[in-house]
Amino acid sequence: MIAAKRLLDQPWRMIGWLCVVAGLYATYVRFTRGLGASTNLSDDFPWGLWVGFDVVCGVGLAAGGFTISAIVYIFRLEKYRPIARPAVLAAFVGYLMVVGGLLFDLGHPWRLWHPLVMWNHHSVMFEVSWCVTLYTIVLTLEVSSLVFERLRWLRANRRIHMIILPLTLAAVLLSMLHQSSLGSLFLLVPGRLHALWYSPLLPLHFFVSAMAVGCAMTIVESNLSARAFGRCVEADVLDGVARIAAALLGVYLVLRVGDLVVRGVITQLWPLNPAGLFFLAEILLGAAIPMVLFSMGRIRRNTKWLYHTGQLAVIGFVVGRLNVSVTGFEMTAGKTYIPAWTEFAVTAMLVTIGIKVFYLAAKHLPVFEEDHDASLRSRRWRAEMDQQAGSLPNASSVAPAGLLAPEEQVSNERFQPI
C-alpha cells in the first residue's frame, strides 16, 4: 500500500516502472518469437525505430562526451572542467544503451563480435562497429577513473590520469570517424533516400550536428542533475556551452541549407508536401530556432529558458536523424512504417534504464565538483594521500600541492579531475 502510494505521488517514477514492465514483456516477445512478431519491420523497411532512434540518435546524443572532453583536455579551457565528468559519464551510459539497442535489433545478437574478426574494410558498417567498440573501451577507461577514485585506488587512478590526453585524443578521433560514418551509411542509397536528405555531405552534416546536439544534451543533462541532486546549475559554464552550440548550429545550418541550394533541391520544399514539412520541422526545431535562442544573452542567462532551448535542440535533432533513417525512405518508397508498440516499449525501457544508471552513478561516484571537494576534505582520504605521497618519490607531480599543504589550501586546489 505504502509503496503504491509512493508511486502515485511520483508520476515520473510510475512512468519509469511502466516503461520497464512493458519493455520486459516486449523483450520476451523479441527473444522468443523473433523480429517479425516484435516489430513492424518488413522487407520494405528493414530498419526502423531501433536503428533510427536507439542507434543513430543515441550515438549522436552521446556526442557531448567527446565534445566537452576535447574542450577541456585538448583545448584546456579550464572553465568547462566541472561538466567534463558528467558529460563523459552520460556518453558512457549512452553507448551502453546503443549496444543494448543493437542487441535487440540484430538478427543474431550473439554474433555481435563478428565484425571484429571477419573484416570487410569496404563496409561503412564495419568501420562504425570498430569505432563504436573502441570508443566504448575508451569511455570505460575514462569512467573507471571515477570508480578508482571512489574506491581510493590511487595507483590505478593515477595510471588513468597519465593517459588522459591520449585517451581524449582517441575519443575525439574515433568519434569523428563514427559520428560522420553514421551519415556515410546512407551514401550508398541515392535512389532510395529522398533528395532532401541524401547528400554527398551527409558525413559532414552528421558530425557537425552531433557536436551541436552534444552541447545541447550537456545543458539538458546539467539541469536535470541539478534538479535531481538539489545542486546549483553551473550557469557560467552552461552559458559558454550554449555559445558553442549556437556557433555549431550556425555552421550546420549553412552546410545543410547551402548544400540544398547548390544541388537545386531546395525547390522541392514548395508547394508544401509531407517531406518538406518533416524537413522544416527538423531544420526549425533542431537548428534555426535553438541557434537564435542560444545566441541571445537573455536566454542564456535564464536557467529555465536555456534548459528548454536545449530540449528543443534535442527534439529537433531526433526528428532530423529519424528523417534520414526512416522518413526519407518512406517518402521515396511511398509506403509507411509505424513502429509497433513493442518497439516503443523497448526504446522507452532502454531510456529509463539509462537515466537510472546515470542517476545511480552520479549519486555514488565523484561526478560533480562538490563530491570532489567533499572527498578531498575527508580526513581519511587526505591521510591516504599523504601516505601515498610519502611512499612514492614522484607523487608530488601527480598529487596536487594543496593536498600536502595546510588545510586552508585544500579548498582552492583540487585533485586533478578527469
Binding site: 517479425g36 518488413s42 569496404h122 563496409s123
Partner: protein, 254 residues
C-alpha cells in the same frame, strides 16, 4: 563473368523458371507473386492483353552494394558472376537490404535464426559449369544463361533486328555500374523497371569517404596534438610569468 538475359518478348508466362527455382532451392510451394523469403524469383504480369511478363530476381550487380555494405563479408561477388551469401557470418544487421538499389534481399522475419534470402544464381550449378535452373527450364529461350559480354551483344542484336518490338535499352548494361541480369523487351515492360538507378557503381560513393579516413585521422590527430602542445606550453609560460610577477609584489607588501 556469367549472366542471365531475360527477353520479355520471348516470355509466354508459363512460370517454368519459377517452378525450377523453387525445386532447385528446395523452397516451399506457395502462390506468392512477390519476392519473399520463400520466392527468389517471380514472374510479374505487366499487361494481360499484350501478354507481357517481367521476371523479378536479384540482379547480381558487377559491383554489388550489398557486398560492399556487409560489415562481415557475408555477401560476396564471385568471379563466376553470382553474388552469394554466407549465413554463418551474417550478424543480421540488414544493411544489405537497405543498401540494395533494387530492393531485392528478403529476410526471414518470423525465424529466431533469420537468414537473408535471395537468388544466388544457382552457385553450385554455375560452379560446375552448368546453366542456372531457370534458364535450363525456360522452353522459349526468354531466360538465357551465358557469358555477360556475349549476352549484351546478343541483346543489342535482338533489339536491332526488331526495333519496333523492343525499347532501345538493355537494362542492367549500365545500371548501378552494370548487373549480371540483363533485361530487354517492349517499352511497356521496361517502364516497370526502377528508373532511379544511377549509372555508376554505388559502392564507390562510400569507398570515397572510407578511403579518406587514414589521411583525416593523421591530419586531425596531428592538428589536435599540436594545438594542445602550444596551449600547454603557453599555460606553463603563463604560470612562470605570473609567479615571477607575483613574488616581488608579495615581497613588497610584507
Amino acid at each position: 563473368m556469367n549472366a542471365i538475359l531475360f527477353d520479355a518478348n520471348e516470355c509466354v508466362g508459363c512460370k517454368a523458371c519459377v517452378y525450377a527455382c523453387t525445386s532447385e532451392n528446395e523452397l516451399p510451394d506457395s502462390d506468392e507473386d512477390r519476392l519473399s523469403d520463400r520466392r527468389f524469383t517471380v514472374l510479374e504480369e505487366i499487361d494481360e492483353d499484350e501478354e507481357w511478363y517481367l521476371r523479378r530476381m536479384c540482379m547480381h550487380c558487377v559491383d554489388p552494394s550489398c557486398a560492399s555494405a556487409c560489415p562481415v563479408g557475408a555477401l560476396k561477388k564471385t568471379d563466376l558472376g553470382p553474388v552469394v551469401y554466407d549465413f554463418d557470418k551474417c550478424i543480421g544487421c540488414r544493411y544489405c537490404m537497405v543498401a540494395c538499389p533494387f530492393n531485392i534481399p528478403r529476410y526471414e522475419w518470423d525465424s529466431m535464426t533469420p537468414r537473408v534470402r535471395k537468388c544466388q544464381m544457382c552457385r553450385e550449378r554455375v560452379a560446375e559449369g552448368k546453366s542456372t535452373a531457370c534458364a535450363e527450364a525456360c522452353p522459349t529461350g526468354a531466360t538465357k544463361f551465358g557469358e555477360r559480354s556475349a549476352l549484351i551483344a546478343e541483346a543489342w542484336q535482338r533489339i536491332d533486328s526488331a526495333p519496333d518490338a523492343y525499347a532501345r535499352h538493355v537494362y542492367g548494361e549500365k545500371e548501378a555500374g552494370g548487373t549480371c541480369v540483363l533485361i530487354i523487351g517492349p517499352q511497356g515492360v521496361m517502364d516497370a523497371l526502377n528508373p532511379n538507378i544511377p549509372d555508376g557503381p554505388l559502392p564507390h560513393r562510400t569507398w570515397f569517404v572510407l578511403s579518406q579516413i587514414p589521411a583525416a585521422v593523421a591530419v586531425v590527430g596531428a592538428g589536435l596534438v599540436g594545438v594542445n602542445w602550444i596551449i600547454q606550453r603557453r599555460m606553463k609560460l603563463g604560470d612562470v610569468t605570473t609567479t615571477e610577477t607575483r613574488e616581488p609584489t608579495e615581497g613588497g607588501a610584507s
